[in-house]
Amino acid sequence: MQRGNHVTSGLDSVLRLQLRTGRVVLLAWVLGVVATYAATVAAIDTTYGSPEELASYEATVGSDPTMAAINGTPYGADTLGGVVANEFGFIAAVAIPLMGLMLVVRGTRAAEETGRLELLRSRAVGSRAPWLAALLITGGALALVGLGMAVSLVAYGVEAADAALYGASVAGLGLVFAGVATLAGQLLRRAAGVVGVGIVVLGAAYVFRAIGDVKDNGWRWLSPLAWQQETRPFADDARVWPLLLALGVAAALVAAGLVLVGRRDLGSAAVASRPGPATAGRALASGLGLALRQHGPVLLAWAAGAALVGAVFGAFTDDVADVVAANPDLQAAFSAGAAGDPTRWYVSFTLVLLVLMALGAAAQVVGRVRVEETGGRLEAVLARTVSRVRWLATHAAVALAGGALVALAGGAGLAAVTAGATGDAAGTLEATVDYLPAVAALTGLGVALFGLAPRATGLRWAALGYVAVVEMLGETLKLPDAALQVSPLHAIGRLPTEPASGAGVLVVCGVAALLLAAGLAGFRRRDVPR
């Protein structure tokens, strides 16, 4: 018998395998996040170069409650690091948790679900080895991201200790979500379900952090996002203990997950499946019925999440108005700038957030369409009297309608809660409807990739990331107008503070229609599977 802990044996070979098969994805995450961050640092260093400019930032943007809700409380906003942390707050709050989540799931549940892990485990590979390997790789990638961020800051003259604390706190945030994936990965059998749980946790973390930051209360401590933010690396009262809290929670989640994985069967989960009906109802037997069955639950979850985010963020509108009213600098900034009425400005920010959620939902549906093909089910479907165009069009329609549902649910929640503050619930809803062509454009892009270059279907996430960066950071980064206009949201305009650009809506609709048509035509002509 070989000595050693059998549940972790084979760790080195699994580690090498995961690195080899996941290197492109790893590289994309690390480079993508660090490059966006470094660009933000450079842009802000140009815009707010002098102490006076930094002080004016703190007096206006830094105390803008709109920003507190979306990006978090801007601690130390009179320093370069603090301004960057605030401007980058939303991107970091979404990208870093997703990175921790997806990187762990990729090498573990996803591999187990498809059966790849079974062959590996038949070798001298213990049950914990794949999880440990994925955690080590994820931890390493997060450490690289933290390091890259810290180096970017130091390069622009930020104190090394502050930069290091910031980088570490960001890595700590990712580790918490790696821990969430490790524990959820033992409870659910499907990789998509594990990611779903992680996204729900992220949504809750975002909402709790926002409540805590706007109302300045203890709700924030329920949120891993606040544990990162509350290290306040660039403020005078920087502290390490929130980072330790994050690391402690991450360690506890990981430990619980690793204990469970040593006890469960390969391929099993705590949540067992129940028997179901022996025959399919009439609805399920239709192409649309099957598509709805496949995508419906995910879309409804997104819609519920969007409605919740819309309502919770909408509820802060009065606080925003109060803070602006009490701050002459902010008042001056609002009346001088293009932003106009602060409550509308805030509503438009929240609306962008909701539309981004809708884009995410549509992108996810397109991903599941691609899985139908890679998973081998598409062949069984197309061997029936189902035309390719009709099949893809049905799924595209579900993605589009689902994305629209998510946006409208969020917009309705926002409109209902902010009706008193804005006095214009209809305007908020109308703005949501005006943004729907953007959902069609991203769905179209996904369908075009699937039809023309199916192996590149993943690029739709890169496109979504780009749109998010443009919407949240575009002005800060001083991106050229052409680069901004590529984002369909930007092309349509900042609603409802300004009216929707009629030309923009038309162009986005046209592009969406072209992309959809190209995707359908491409899918009609290509081999299946590819």
Partner: protein, 296 residues
Amino acid sequence: MSERVVDVQGLVKTFGSFRALDGLDLALERGEVRGFLGPNGAGKSTTIRILLGMVRASSGHVRLFGADPWRRAVGLHRHLTYVPGDVSLWPGLTGGQCVDVLGASGAPLDRTRRGTLIERFDLDPTKRVRDYSKGNRQKVALVAAFAAQADLLVLDEPTSGLDPLMEEVFRECVAERAADGATVLLSSHILSEVEALCSTVTIIRHGRTVRAGTVAELRGLARTRVHAVTRSAPPDLGVFDLHDVAVTGQDVTFTVDPGDLDRVLKPLVEGGLESLTVRPPSLDELFLSEYDGASA
């Protein structure tokens, strides 16, 4: 509708620089049960995907029920049903739901047959697909295929993962559907299955048809194996057209075309025999030599 259900001539399919199919021929007349054989990677599944209109032929003539399957896929699928070798189904649905989903479009399901097939294949239709073993997933696809009122059954290694009892049920079902007049294209590696079910076979290698004919014709091509132990030194057999000859002392083995058997045995019997075994032509050996590329 044309009598020839499948008509493939000179089929070529290239993936980049790789030539998966290189002038393949395949024909099925109405009511024919044809075995489709070849080593791994010979191009069987690619051919089937082209027949189903999922993959486009690079060149060559392909007709299914007289029509181009790439252009007319949907209409043609009304007349056929397909079982892949590695069945992938929707993990959240039950087996019964999957049968209905698969049967909802295309050749209509015979509800009575669906019920009896579920019993014969011993399938629990209320179980979720993710809880099925490979064999049980395969059974779901088979039930859906045999319950369909289809003119053509396209079966691509349909019995992989089935136990011997279920394999038997499968053979009965194919025979019944064939008796009903259905045409069957059976791609398989199980030679006994092909021998039992098929009247004709097509053998392909490296994307090309190397042998096609009736099983009886092929049997005629196969040689009879003779093993004789003679009383004295064996007679000179050099005048006959023998193959694989091995002589050690009085022990003689060789293979011979069945037509020559009586002439060869005569001198052996006349010389006096200790023992004689004559094994009838085995398709296995023929198939294996075709797979190998060893036969002329």
